[in-house]
Symmetry: C2
Subunit: 415 residues, 2 copies
């Protein structure tokens, strides 16, 4: 197809004494926040000879593969020309209506007009970063917080404040102080089975935080990818219910149906803001895959999502309990760990003086991958905590992996 | 699922005398560049009683629906757990290898390691904006240019310079002057069947532009969504061949297979730069739908893409010729229009003194939608040119629509 009269490999522009040097933006010249950690997590998860508690992968057993075959076939045979064509930037209306109805059943009054479909909830974070952050803008995050949110927000060079997270949620005294003194543009929280800690905000904590926020101009970003994965206890009220237009709620099908589809959403009840988010979303990728949205909707229309979720939560409950029982058997005294009521990971804290990075290095040599807590913190390094993911390992791997971790901890303690 | 002890509709935060007011970023407070035009284009394209030459939609006849049914079924039955799981941020390796091989056959030496899969080529533009633009950074665009690229770049508040586009490409004298005086971070071009004009750069123009750029630090962004849709003439050499690492090449399956999948890519041969683009891409949406990538690859592995493209180009050639013959029949003298050798649209210029916006308004009243040239220009308004898309209308619609446009033009001329 190409004009062959011109030498194809003529890269003369790059072979001179002054080679081409791209003129990068300031954001691209800054070092990548903890980028190496993410690479490590993903590569460890891919090695066959490593037992990985590092990745945040759902268990493939939870994917409705056969149901998707049928849904894909129905969408393409009945509505193929639409599924393969350009679509609406807001997302596929029947899918948005499905989500709105699901929220209404949970007592959260949402209309489909308030739901923007995104390419995973990661893209929702990207839209939020663009919508609210200038250089130096104050924002408030949990300490520790979700690694990929920290990485993303760093591209906008905001002024990141953090509030310590304890068993029942963010520390309210510190929270109130920062809200008052810094007037952050938003507070970003994962209130249910937080990544990395597995912790859930109590009802009391939610009400106190909502109360502190009312009357301020700080938005609450409620990231809720794991909320449906509750395997014990009752769900406390959503921030979206407590704060109305002062809350943007994020959701995702990645943990309940399939991450490979890359379909998430955001709920924004502030009309003018949603219009701007939509416009920016359109500039980012026109719209999220309509093909994926229609297949998802077809699947959801002909199957009960909650029945499917029950299978996942039963699996994860068993995995979590098994991992905890193994830790009780194989870990020495003095090790603390969270006992999540749902989600995919838990958080282990070593005794004072021990650093999780040392343990992660020692464990990887023995074929077990964990994520040391460091990249989940904005500033703290050489912390004593680490994340264990239990969703995607077999019982035998969990037993062997936890035994090896226990051995490594003992060795480090003995030094 | 929610704690019902708390009033669900308690939006008290928004009902007080000082309602919540989100603290937007500077980029979000700026007016949306020509956002209303895009909305108009999309809504006109959706109305059943309007003949729309406004949208840039491929003809659904070109979608391989039956082949996708088979591909989706094979992927899900043989490899479902992988297709529905998280994937690699770079994209599905076999798809990248397919693309690299296709470039090599066209004489462009590309390895799969240099290809990053994106959520449509619109996302590639988003990554490029983030990678190169600070407030006030000089960049160079064609005048007119692709509307969605203009919109996107505006979010970064760069200093936009433009170079007039004529029949054989960008004006070289002006191009050389701006490169020398402004040292733009990049020159963004759609060299084949440009949107909106349908124009293609000659071989001579490409060589002169490459020659002007060599030794400078201005990157050339070669956006090539339509290159495969050539229905007459020969393809001139690609800028990617002429400029090597000084060029980032964008491609897309949207115009040849399906826009609804949202799969495009970028080719970047500068390793360190690609690493940063990858890292940013990962922050944007983790990765593009692996499900879509695997189905696309399955389809491409079992079918010859060029045979499929031949059907599309035959269709678009006939549509373009039919539209041109209708304009020759129904338009008054003094109207100039491009005669594209490929792509999906052509560009009409009214006599001096007439404005395309007036024509667009009059035509829409008579049930025909066109896009006046204004939003494709960075600064010029009330221009005399407009875009006609011929890919997605029936022959009868083209004949009737062009007849109506001809009548409207005559009426405006008579005033």
């Amino acid at each position: 197809m190409t004009d062959m009269n011109v030498k194809q490999n003529d890269f003369s522009g790059t072979d001179t004494s002054s080679p081409f040097s791209p003129q990068l933006s300031a954001r691209m010249k800054r070092p990548d926040f903890q980028g190496d950690f993410t690479g490590m997590i993903l590569s460890a998860a891919e090695k066959d000879d490593v037992i990985s508690f590092a990745g945040g992968l759902p268990n493939p057993v939870s994917f409705p593969i056969q149901e998707f075959r049928e849904a894909a076939d129905r969408v393409l045979s009945e509505n193929g020309a639409k599924a393969l064509q350009y679509g609406d930037a807001m997302g596929y209306e029947p899918l948005r209506e499905y989500l709105a109805e699901r929220y209404r059943k949970q007592g959260i009054p949402v209309s489909s007009k308030e739901i923007l479909i995104t390419s995973g909830s990661q893209q929702a974070l990207q839209l939020i970063g663009a919508a609210f952050l200038d250089d130096g803008s104050p924002i408030l995050l949990e300490d520790p917080s979700y690694l990929a949110a920290l990485q993303l927000f760093h591209y906008y060079a905001p002024s990141i404040h953090t509030v310590p997270l304890s068993e029942d949620g963010a520390d309210r005294t510190e929270f109130a102080r920062i809200i008052k003194e810094e007037n952050p543009r938003f507070f970003y929280t994962v209130p249910n089975f937080q990544n990395p800690t597995g912790l859930t905000y109590s009802k009391q904590a939610r009400m106190e935080i909502a109360s502190i926020l009312r009357g301020t101009n700080t938005l609450l970003i409620e990231d809720n990818p794991y909320g449906d994965l509750r395997f014990s206890g009752n769900a406390p009220i959503s921030f979206a219910s407590l704060l109305g237009t002062q809350c943007i709620l994020l959701g995702s099908f990645s943990k309940t149906v399939s991450p490979g589809m890359r379909i998430g959403w955001l709920v924004c009840r502030e009309k003018a803001l949603l219009k701007r988010l939509l416009s920016y979303k359109q500039s980012c990728d026109i719209h999220s895959s309509l093909f994926c949205q229609m297949i998802l909707h077809e699947y959801l229309s002909s199957h009960d999502l909650d029945t499917h979720i029950t299978k996942i939560t039963a699996l994860y409950k068993q995995k979590a309990q098994w991992m905890i029982s193994c830790m009780e058997r194989f870990f020495p005294d003095g090790i603390h760990f969270t006992r999540p009521e749902g989600g995919m990971s838990l958080w282990v804290t070593l005794p004072d003086g021990m650093t999780a990075v040392d343990l992660a290095d020692a464990a990887l040599e023995k074929g077990v991958a964990i994520v040391a807590g460091d990249p989940f913190y904005e500033k703290r390094r050489k912390v004593s905590s680490f994340r264990l993911n239990y969703s995607n390992s077999s019982d035998a791997e969990i037993e062997q992996g936890i035994r090896i971790l226990g051995d490594c901890i003992r060795k480090i303690m003995a030094h």
